[in-house]
Subunit: 132 residues, 4 copies
């Protein structure tokens, strides 16, 4: 099932489909899920992972709001989408920097996901700034 | 990026990995995103889609809670997971029945996703009842 | 600002306003916020609070879905509301039982909130069963 | 039940309690609930409220992420909190400007809530910038 195709079927989209923004939506959706799982896995580690739990929780919440808002196409809300993409980049990079310090498979996977999501949000933001 | 592999990397999982539950997590994550997008697309249709908007919104919220709770593996919460899976099945089937009435590409896609998610939650529930 | 008055202003509500359901919505909203905060506070405690973090996180997610779904009044979705109220009762009582084991102010407050939310959801469910 | 007192009971808070930030948390929590309800009420109106549904949905999602992130106190995440507060101000003012166009009780209440939330987020942001 593809969230990108779903967005392209919105009645107001048509030829105006923004591919990089749809890619950011897809990866923010994944990143919300991966960070939610990493926060849980970190809380079960023997080491004290309190900072990683906190940053993964924040990243999950913001990625979720990002993908929900950025996947809507009714009537436009460009300034807000640009602002939440910017916030999403910041939280993803902060979370990735913390996860990269820990030698757990779930932290490595989470760091990779966060870096990828930040990169996609940056590309989407560039496209939206170019159109403005 | 795979949420199923992520769950398998949780420190308390190991050989005990529940594949059907992880499949339900994955599809509830997608279903939350698809229903959120369908609610938005429905609000932009010329026809009055108020019932479809409402049911897609409910389905998105419950699928999201379902995947977040069911992807956690720390310390167990089996009774609650079984209960939210049951609620998820009900909302997915209610939403699918409504979306199937509308001849929009996004409603068709959403109905398919909801039926698939309900089926996966039912399989996960069967596994958990068998283990109990 | 009152979420209960807000619900009473919905165009389809009028004389049919369900007071116990609105009370459950209000307390599920608070409970989502209190549990989110308790999970965070638990992760900062010196003691190992992994089970409490997990149950508070689950309770927050389910309370949030509960209040969002149960506050909608467009076109009805009674079976689903009853199902999520039932799930909410279970997660609130599970979380309260865990928080009651810990002698932290935030855990005591969270346990009280969860018990109150469970009680309100039970009253709302009784009303809906009586109407059915 | 008070989310502000709850935050003050976090083990890392003590004398360092940021009152304006806690006030922003409380009102972002309410605003998430009011906007979720307004989106639903708008979809039941006879007039075409598609833009209002969309903006209320966006505002609800972002307010929710804002209050969840800004209520955490473990280990600090100041840059991210400042960024999401900024995004929250933008979405609240955009949503208020739309709701103010409609003569429905729920839209009037929602507009008031959004303006208040934006004001509280701005005060919280000022405090955080002053401390930096």
């Amino acid at each position: 099932m593809s969230i990108k195709e779903m967005i392209s079927e919105h009645p107001q989209v048509g030829a105006d489909f923004n591919e990089p923004l749809a890619e950011a939506v897809k990866h923010a959706m994944y990143c919300a899920a991966i960070c939610n799982s990493c926060a849980d896995a970190c809380s079960a580690e023997e080491a004290d992972m309190h900072r990683c739990i906190r940053l993964c929780s924040d990243c999950s919440d913001i990625c979720e709001a990002t993908y929900r808002v950025a996947s809507r196409r009714t009537s436009g809300n460009v300034t807000v989408i640009k602002s939440i993409l910017q916030t999403c980049i910041e939280v993803c990079e902060t979370c990735a920097a913390e996860c990269e310090k820990h030698d757990n498979p779930h932290c490595r996977r989470c760091a990779t996901m966060c870096r990828e999501c930040a990169g996609d949000c940056r590309k989407a933001l560039d496209t939206m700034n170019a159109h403005a």
